[in-house]
Subunit: 214 residues, 2 copies
């Protein structure tokens, strides 16, 4: 029974890691589509999002049946509930990447990001996709200090987000209110993607130790 439980738990972890890998791919492709005004790639990201939604509901169903059939307690219970929590957040990361792709699609054939900001958005995409990859690794191989590590990445995201916001709201911004509004939202999608990754890392630390890092 216990062996079966741990086998099921390992499968759940693999599914979560697979979800992280997909959300990382979605984020990289969405950023490429955004910066290159690449409509087919944007549509690919939008189309792939449904798969992530499906993976999430599969994770959730699997967790529910684990709870119903095996009634785990203590650390095992925490692991299963953390998996449900993480699946929700990782699905949301996919949604945020899809929102970025949607901006690329909506703005096409124009570029949503003016030249002077492409560096910052490329960096936002690089860091956030890396965060998704990293939590995928941490799910299969938990490591001490992972919450602090992800939080560190997130500080970088927050700083870039603040820089973008400062630029688009400066009196000398030359691209108009519509462009600024759209970029304010896009920058926020990256920031939220980072936040969700941190929530996942926080929950993984809780699953491992029983304490929610604050």
């Amino acid at each position: 029974m216990r062996e079966a439980f741990h086998g099921d738990l390992a499968r759940l972890g693999e599914q979560l890691s697979a979800m992280c890998a997909r959300s990382a791919v979605a984020m990289r492709q969405a950023t490429t589509a955004l910066l290159g005004a690449d409509l087919p790639l944007a549509e690919q990201v939008l189309g792939a999002d449904a798969e992530l939604d499906l993976l999430r509901s599969q994770c959730e169903e699997q967790a529910h049946s684990l709870l119903a059939l095996q009634a785990p307690v203590a650390g095992d219970l925490r692991l299963v509930l953390s998996a449900v929590y993480c699946a929700d957040k990782i699905e949301r990361m996919g949604d945020l990447a899809a929102h970025i792709a949607d901006t690329a699609r909506f703005t096409h054939p124009a570029h949503a990001v003016p030249d002077e900001l492409t560096g910052k958005f490329a960096e936002l995409g690089r860091i956030t996709a890396g965060m998704a990859d990293r939590i995928g690794e941490l799910i299969s191989a938990p490591a001490e200090g992972s919450f602090a590590e992800l939080e560190q990445c997130d500080h970088g995201v927050d700083a870039l987000h603040a820089e973008v916001f400062e630029i688009i709201t400066a009196p000398e911004w030359p691209h108009g209110a519509a462009s600024a509004s759209s970029l304010a939202l896009v920058a926020r999608f990256y920031e939220r993607f980072g936040d969700q990754s941190v929530s996942v890392a926080r929950r993984l630390e809780f699953a491992a130790t029983g304490d929610l890092p604050s």
Copy 2:
């Protein structure tokens, strides 16, 4: 045992309803603070958010101990897991109200919302706070068709959100890019608050019927 379980479950429901009531208050006050550039009220909303975070972790702990001690199955398991899910979403609703209050604080003593848009934001505040109240009622008294009902409200929110976005991104927008960027985000906070309320209603219907409405 079963009676104790249902007593505990009822208490969990009361806590969730209390969280909804608080998030509705936060949304009403945040909207008043936003439209009236009311700094003390904005600070009150920001200060109260920690209580909602605490209530959420209490709900979660209670749900975990219910699962560990009583190992519910089938419908009972669904109810407990739905409570955990809803607590997360309602806490997020509080965060979104706090973000709106934060915009009021940041912009003070200026008004973040120009006169021509106060009607739309007042309406966004009215509908979304009403959605939070309604899910609070539905938790204590589940009703058929509640998901459809909340979705209907959310269509109203989405329409207002789209109208605001159209106005702030129009070429004739006279208040500049900084104001447009800030309003794009604020309008999105209302829209997300509505989305979260719908997710809660969806989950309540799942808890009651075993089917996730799509």
